[in-house]
Symmetry: C2
Subunit: 215 residues, 2 copies
Amino acid sequence: MARYEGVSASVIRRLPRYYRFLGELKAKGMERISSREFADIIGLTASQIRQDLNCFGGFGQQGYGYNIESLCAEIGRILNVDALRPTILVGAGNLGLALVNHMRFEARGFRLIGIFDSDPEKIGHTIRDWQIQDVARLEAFCQEHHPLAAILCIPKQVAVECADLLVQNGVKGFWNFTHQDLSIIYKDGIAVENVHLGDSLMTLSFNIAEVMDAE
Amino acid sequence: MARYEGVSASVIRRLPRYYRFLGELKAKGMERISSREFADIIGLTASQIRQDLNCFGGFGQQGYGYNIESLCAEIGRILNVDALRPTILVGAGNLGLALVNHMRFEARGFRLIGIFDSDPEKIGHTIRDWQIQDVARLEAFCQEHHPLAAILCIPKQVAVECADLLVQNGVKGFWNFTHQDLSIIYKDGIAVENVHLGDSLMTLSFNIAEVMDAE
């Protein structure tokens, strides 16, 4: 049985935002915050924050606000950010390299253990601590190193084939940047986070039209 | 007055998803789809789809389903994907280059007209059709070419300064990949789409923990 069966996906999706802002407040040396002040900072209502956190048991004391450090630690625990799951990246194009260079995987539950690509010009090159390996070695690598998560930055046409191979070899979750919506294929037992940057860009398009119309 | 005042942000956020799937169905040659079939394909409920579309007037005929081509065109119109707004990219690192190389801006309401960076080793290089320009020229460029949107792939420390300069020079929307949450700074009149890839990765972390616990 899952730990938080029944908590809605939109509540889950706000947790990283809480965690990020709490981390910033902690870094500034703040110790306590009321749900109202916190709401102002993160752009939600105080009652939404209280409701969200109540899904996990609630962490504040009425009238005393939240202890920033302990709430941050608690949300981090719920998000499993200390899990250091062995993780591979497939597809070392610009996007893949941007992620390898800038994403703090280890602070978010993942530990990168291998990078793969099919391009002979890339194979063998070293990016930070990792040498790019031939994707033909992917299955052998999985059997030896047992990655639990994979980041897919590959073309849509090869996404399902690659994901299937990884699932057969024990991968439990995908950070999916391909245009293939894997969450439709794997309904149970596999976690998929599709990143559709194009959807984000279209949302911006809508919102720019709105602000320009409102002028 | 904005065109769709009062439509909730979460409805707006689902529109690009509808648009994307409708485009795929159209490309497959399908002409009609019931809200139930459509719901199965995109992983929502039929009543949610009907409710969402009703916010914009509703497009189906009870019992006949949706005409895919006209619904797709209508949602595209709502999203303003044909707007071809002049757009600049600031920050030509791996992430910026990945966006330039792979994102179909013109199909989503934007037309890239300039790329900027502060790194002397990058300035002058050509990426697809664009020569990377010195960020010191940004203001002069804005005054000449009037970009309406900007994609920010720059470090957090310089994000606000850069965004302020662009707002003063007429930019109305940001696709913001920096770790500075600009939507908190610009409350009115400026559209901001923050892309927090780290939040997405933490959501995946949570969901992997859930599927592994459920085994």
